[in-house]
Symmetry: C2
Subunit: 432 residues, 2 copies
């Protein structure tokens, strides 16, 4: 007999079927034992009467892996509208007693550190794993949107000879006896490949030796990167960001089970995301918080939250572009705003008051790179391979990067980005 | 006027249009200058008569980036069936003279090391970049096939606390002052996540400190990994490998332009890939080469080539499974063949005489792991988080890994896996 999934049980009402999965929960009600069986996609209830020949179900430790044959019976009370009666059981793997995480509750009650210590067990919880289905769907949606816009997927090296985004917070690797570094982003490579494919994207790990433990930072995270040539300016890039986010939301919305389990409120995405200039944003923050921020070169997390609330009130929107950051806080490859000295053709996208995307137009002329590096006192030599690209013809271009874990955390209501990471890495955590 | 792509030119015959791209080639024929313009998707010919007002086209260095407006004219001789007449030019970026790679030839003539030194320029060549479109399509096909089989995409950490596949050839990282390592594969994590999702896959970088420089090895490559629970044995996994390869081929086949440029001979994939037992394979090798190999625990590259030829002769097939490798050469998590002591439920897939996939059934009981580690003299402690998964219920499972660059190299007729890697990494190469 072919195994069916728990989600298919109702369709087989009246037939004998075989389920397989983990023994998640067990309740005795008088002489009847109710068992919840969890498989990769859902759960089903198995009902064991006192005459049934499946005594193992009464004593097997939770999380044991079993196959259960029985009769599919329609039942309005059972999850999914059906349950399994008259079960016969085959044990595939007997678990040890006392699972370190209590997977029987509707929500995990353990504190975050303990959940992360036992991540592979904690993620078995239906609600937890739903979060990672949201991550998977978001990735698929990002790729589908960019594929549709003529982008080519690329794979660039994570072992690099120099720090991509500056010397701080970079991990050093022993590369056959000499130093190498872990890429902080695919920035330089995706730009170089605009010269090849015009439009490229990459979804992969990036590494930041963040010394601080905050709820927003990880030592390793998944960056969704895109870069495109022949742009007018940063606004061409912002239009692509909007399409990428639309693609991600579309796929998440299709995951109705995960959306329901996590009670996700899907944001509305307008045809044009509202945007505010950096200096206007600072005035709004001053108005809201009373704090003095005009003249500061960047926004603090509390300022982003203030702007997020403003976007909700003013535009009824969970998204807000902040445009035209001061040049001094952006990387050397940032394109200056031709009309406003000291400012740049760059942007961040805030989602529910937190930055999830950074992007902008980049320099594209070799001489501009030489001048920008000289102005910052940075040497050209470590960037030789990168700079060569600009010596031999590069179009005006720009791009952006979106942090997957932040997006998933904000979308699914997780307070800490670690809850949206299967096996998070930070200063204090390298296992499991 | 909206820019159109070179590939769209023929559809606009008779209209004025705007192209943009790189000045790839220029020939003077009497008083007429023919210019080849390359954009992200193809090339188009621009014809400059002596009265035309676009003198820059005659003197601009190759690889300069330009916009060209002109009249689209149908022409049987021109690539794509149309060319651009009466051009007017706007220069977006003037290149330096003497591009280090000659992109005008039908095939690059520079030796491999020079091409890799200038990878971002060399990959601009239409034939070279086509190879990476094949890589991109293969990735998309892999994901589509596994999505269709109910797999969930996962993202697992590349920074790990101990060597995944044994202590040799692992890169060490300075992780906030203590040692960490770069993951040699997502093996342990994908198994742990079978306990969560049942079926998982990951496409991402893996790292091997390979001391040897061969045409088959890289220090960093892209691994397409899958793992699934509730398998019968390794044959369940082999059936999934076949579907994954079918998905990859389907997407590559759809790239008719790249297939044509690279003169790819697409392999036929039978409904069931032929397979041969390890010991039978050794007898076939002895017959073919006269070498004595029976009793050896593994196959050398020359042996795989011999088997590849045999599969071609005997089965008319570019693919061959070799099944049931001796346990001693497979990793500790390998499931033994219950019927044949010393052998295992494992396999390799050869494509055109080279291993591109390794896979098999894994142990799933905690006590079997303890025994396997003890038998190999390996400590349990570094694997605590991994082993916990098996203490709390894991189904029979298995999986496989496919090396993307090898696949692309073999499919596109590249002699060296570095030709199928955008920015390869090996002992001697960390840039560009």
């Amino acid at each position: 007999m072919e195994r069916i999934l728990t989600s298919e049980l109702a369709a087989y009402a009246g037939e004998r079927v075989r389920l397989a999965g983990w023994l998640q929960h067990r309740r005795e009600l008088g002489r009847v034992t109710f068992v919840v069986l969890r498989d990769g996609r859902g759960v089903a209830q198995v009902v064991l009467g006192e005459d049934d020949d499946a005594a193992e179900l009464r004593e097997l430790p939770l999380e044991s892996v079993i196959e259960v044959e029985g009769e599919a019976v329609a039942s309005a009370q059972a999850p999914g509208g059906a349950e399994l009666h008259a079960p016969r059981v085959r044990v595939l793997a007997r678990a040890e007693p006392e699972v370190p995480i209590d997977l029987r509750r509707p929500r995990l009650a353990e504190r975050l550190a303990l959940r992360l210590d036992h991540a592979a067990i904690a993620c078995r919880h239906e609600r937890e794993r739903a979060r990672f289905r949201v991550a998977s769907a978001s990735l698929a949606g990002f790729r589908a949107a960019l594929d549709g816009l003529g982008f080519t997927e690329i794979q660039t090296p994570k072992l690099v000879a120099s720090a991509t985004e500056g010397g701080a917070n970079v991990f050093e690797v022993d590369f056959f006896g000499r130093p190498a570094y872990l890429a902080q982003s695919p920035q330089l490579y995706k730009q170089m490949l605009v010269g090849v494919f015009e439009r490229v994207y990459e979804t992969g790990p990036v590494f930041r030796a963040e010394p601080h433990e905050t709820g927003r930072h990880l030592a390793e995270y998944v960056s969704l990167d895109a870069e495109l040539g022949f742009v007018e300016d940063h606004t061409t890039v912002m239009a692509v960001v909007r399409e990428a986010v639309a693609g991600m939301l579309e796929r998440v919305e299709a995951l109705s089970e995960a959306v329901g389990l996590l009670e996700i409120e899907l944001p509305e995405l307008p045809a044009e995301i509202p945007s505010v200039r950096f200096e206007e944003a600072q005035l709004l923050i001053e108005e809201d918080t009373g704090e003095r921020v005009v003249g500061e070169p960047d926004l603090a997390p509390a300022h982003e939250r203030s702007l997020g609330s403003w976007a909700g009130r003013e535009h009824g929107c969970d998204f807000l572009f902040v445009v035209g950051y001061p040049l001094e806080k952006r990387p050397f490859y940032t394109y200056p705003d031709p009309a406003r000295p000291g400012f740049s053709n760059s942007f961040d996208l805030l989602f529910r008051g937190m930055e999830i995307v950074t992007g902008g137009q980049r320099l594209h002329r070799y001489e501009d790179y030489r001048a920008a590096l000289a102005a910052r006192g940075l040497p050209e030599e470590p960037l030789t391979g990168y700079l060569e690209t600009f010596r031999y013809g590069m179009p005006p271009h720009g791009g952006f990067a979106l942090g997957l874990e932040r997006w998933v955390a904000l979308l699914t209501g997780a307070a800490n980005v670690r809850e949206a990471t299967l096996f998070p890495r930070d200063r204090g955590r390298l296992t499991p």
